[in-house]
């Protein structure tokens, strides 16, 4: 069960795998995620569903090699099996016709913003896509996004491709051009989602962010993923993963994401080759 039926590299350190997971492929909805346990001694890690195929009974995951578990997952080959996949988890994205939507994906979040953009487009919205990464070689799914979105922008931090700078700079240009926007959706690194939320706050544009807190069971049992939203504590796994970006305590989220930094380093030291690759 849970065998890998295809695998490809999308960018350095970013992989796409398709897994046989019929139950999840039948049930998945946009914005949901799965828990993956790579091997018998592995941890439970949450990964957003990049796509799913209910006819072929497969799910697609796109992940960045950022630590022991994702490194181990990247080592698996077609035909290998994953210990466990649980899902689909979390509340799906509320997809409806709201007018004009800006869909923003940063880093590996590019993988996750694509199905969201597609779903909003299929619902008849005008979709403006913005994807950003550190450098040109980390941009992927560009054609898919371009074909889906009515307007589409790419940014790179170093200016090697698209517009130089951050995704929020494109967003601000849209505001300056008085483009009417009904909803902004952002998924990616915490500072990016925080910056997008700050950019839209003065204009009171509803902003949905898809959060990535640390999880264990991901069924509402442990509270590892607790996030403060509007002064109240929520569990990212069952109450999220999407929340109102204007209400999220990003500072706390970032701090909680650092809880296991030391332990991650310890694990990475066990695989020196991988560690070198990451640095």
């Amino acid at each position: 069960m849970y065998s890998i039926c295809s695998k490809k590299s999308l960018a350095p350190g970013i992989n796409e795998i398709k897994i046989n997971a019929p139950e999840i492929a039948q049930k998945a909805k946009t914005g949901q995620f799965v828990i993956v346990i790579v091997d018998e001694k592995g941890e439970r890690i949450p990964l957003t569903l990049a796509d799913w195929n209910p006819v072929k009974n497969t799910i697609k995951l796109i992940f960045q090699e950022v630590g022991h578990s994702t490194n181990t997952l990247a080592e698996l080959k077609v035909g290998d099996s994953i210990q466990a996949v649980l899902g689909p988890l979390g509340k799906p994205t509320e997809i409806k016709n709201v007018g004009t939507i800006v869909c923003i994906g940063g880093g590996v979040g590019i993988a996750e913003v694509y199905p969201v953009s597609r779903a909003f487009k299929n619902e008849g919205n005008e979709v403006i896509g913005i994807i950003g990464a550190r450098s040109k070689n980390l941009i992927f799914l560009e054609k898919e996004m371009k074909d889906t979105c009515d307007q589409f922008y790419v940014t790179t931090d170093d200016g090697t491709y698209g517009q130089k700078g951050l995704v929020t700079e494109v967003l601000n240009k849209l505001f300056q051009a008085n483009k009417h926007i009904d909803l902004v959706y952002a998924i990616g690194p915490v500072p990016m989602m925080a910056a997008v939320s700050e950019a839209t706050r003065p204009l009171k544009i509803k902003t949905v962010v898809n959060l990535n807190p640390i999880m264990v069971d991901a069924t509402g049992m442990c509270g590892a993923c607790r996030v403060t939203v509007g002064g109240k504590t929520y569990f990212g796994c069952v109450d999220g993963p999407e929340f109102d970006g204007h209400l999220v305590d990003f500072k706390e989220l970032k701090s909680r994401l650092n809880l296991f930094k030391e332990q991650e380093e310890c694990l990475n030291k066990r695989c020196p080759s991988k560690r070198a690759k990451n640095e």
């Binding site: 001694k41 049992m221 607790r226 706390e252 970032k254 701090s255 310890c266």
Partner: protein, 473 residues
């Protein structure tokens, strides 16, 4: 002849390992203890057992050295004897009812049950399982004590049972909650193997409510569904600082340690990041499990409880074990704030991050207030009342919150027509049937957090109700 005492690992040794604390009776001890049983004509102990094991009968078989038959006798009623022999609060159930308890010499029924179960696992299974003969498919959601019991009984009745579990390993709280040194996971998996051998199909990594909704199970041909998803929602104190790093719910801490084996990190990839001075808040069995785990990780552990020792809900035996292992107690003490080192937003703090402690949103103390006991409250226990101007700061760098669990809301949130009580438990009728015909519920999801054995009692009752329901259709 006086009561045989269970031999234990010495406290100074056991606090350094995760091996079982209680070592089990020797055969000589078991036979001697069994011979003490008066074989009452009207045994009060049986009435005290939530699954009605024929206690005098199995004890008589042990005293006659017929151990294979003794375990068969227990398994007529109890599908998880190796578990119950270890974690049941016998002192409040069968043993308190024992006529000899008046002289403080109650038969050590739990230890005898464990002895018989361990005998079986040493020699291999003695019962030839029956395979399903009825075509009716029954789904069981959850593989904890209630789910396992219902699944086993239904399989014995001949039903075609599928048991779904959201985690990757079966056993529910037996696996993620109760630590290795009280209930070895090998024992749990052996008991689950027995239940699988009865014909139960175990399906891990399926979350009912997400992977399949209740109505989808009916569409798949299941005739009835038993919901036994437990009380998995951790309660927090609702005080400032509770989302700081190194504040854990008991569930998270124990799941990391027990299910994910973080105590064997980095061999196992799941980490746990705790400091050196740990506060465990609460005084139930779960709190003591957390405290004793933390001590085994070599930490300085203080149990913080707002009432006095007399009101502690944990088993006396666990309190005693923990005290022997060096647990400190801060009683009549209520936390009011977790003091946190404010996170610095700049990413230049890598050095501090590596040091781990005391910076960037980590716990650096817990402000508490002293309490005194006032008038009895609804629970009959004296209500703790704060003493004015008695606040102080407890010097800790990690807080584990073990003040209780609520029923897991995930399933009923995805099942709109399932009636739920105000306290979040699922409403059931006297036969454990929910507001949806053919859907039954039992265990902690209908009672709130309770013991393993009471959940097993509910599992047995549900199996009978489900059988009656299916026969009538």
């Amino acid at each position: 002849m006086s009561q045989q005492k269970m031999p234990k690992q010495k406290s100074e040794e056991r606090v350094k390992n995760f091996f079982e604390v209680a070592l089990g009776f020797s055969k000589e001890q078991a036979l001697a203890e069994a011979k003490r049983c008066l074989q009452c004509k009207k045994p009060l102990c049986v009435a005290g057992c939530p699954v009605q094991i024929d206690i005098p009968a199995f004890i008589k078989l042990i005293s006659a050295n017929k151990l294979d038959e003794a375990i068969k006798k227990i398994k007529e009623k109890n599908n998880l004897p190796a578990v119950c022999g270890r974690v049941c609060p016998q002192e409040n159930q069968c043993e308190i009812a024992c006529i000899l308890s008046k002289k403080n010499q109650a038969i050590n029924i739990g230890s005898l049950e464990r002895f018989a179960a361990d005998h079986e696992s040493a020699i291999g299974q003695t019962i030839t399982p029956t395979k399903s003969v009825k075509s009716d498919k029954v789904a069981v959601a959850g593989s904890g004590p209630a789910g396992l019991t219902a699944a086993a009984d239904l399989a014995k009745m001949g039903y075609n049972v599928t048991m779904f579990e959201s985690l990757h390993l079966p056993g529910g709280v037996l696996m993620y909650g109760i630590p290795e040194f009280r209930l070895p996971k090998k024992i749990v998996l052996q008991e689950v193997d027995y239940i699988k051998s009865l014909g139960v199909d175990l399906r891990p990594n399926v979350l009912i409510g997400k992977t399949y909704a209740i109505d989808e199970l009916f569409q798949q041909g299941f005739k009835t569904i038993f919901i036994a998803v437990g009380a998995g929602l951790p309660q927090f104190m609702g005080i400032p600082g509770e989302n700081a790093n190194r504040v854990y719910s008991a569930n998270e801490f124990l799941t990391r340690i027990n299910l994910m084996k973080a105590y064997k990190f980095p061999e196992y990839a799941t980490p746990v990041n705790i400091g050196e001075k740990i506060a465990v808040v609460g005084a139930g069995n779960v709190a003591f499990d957390c405290a004793r785990v933390a001590m085994r990780l070599g930490k300085d552990v203080t149990l913080v409880y707002r009432r006095s020792e007399q009101e502690m809900p944990a088993r006396a035996e666990e309190i005693e074990n923990a005290r022997e292992e060096g647990l400190k107690f801060k009683l009549l003490t209520q936390p009011v704030e977790i003091i946190v080192d404010e996170p610095r937003s700049s990413s230049k703090n890598n050095k501090i991050l590596k040091e781990g402690r005391g910076e960037n949103g980590f716990v650096k103390g817990m402000r508490c207030i002293q309490m005194q006991l006032g008038e009895p409250d609804a629970s009959g226990r004296r209500r703790p009342v704060p003493i004015k101007n008695s606040e102080f700061i407890l010097d800790v760098d990690t807080v584990i919150v073990a003040i209780g669990q609520n029923p897991n809301p995930l399933l009923y949130k995805s099942t709109p027509n399932l009636k739920v009580n105000e306290d979040g438990t699922i409403w059931v009728d006297e036969n454990l049937m929910t507001s949806i015909p053919g859907v039954f519920a039992g265990g902690d999801i209908i009672t709130g957090a309770d013991t393993v054995i009471s959940a097993m009692g509910a599992g047995k009752k549900a199996a009978v109700s489900i059988d009656n329901y299916l026969k009538k259709r």
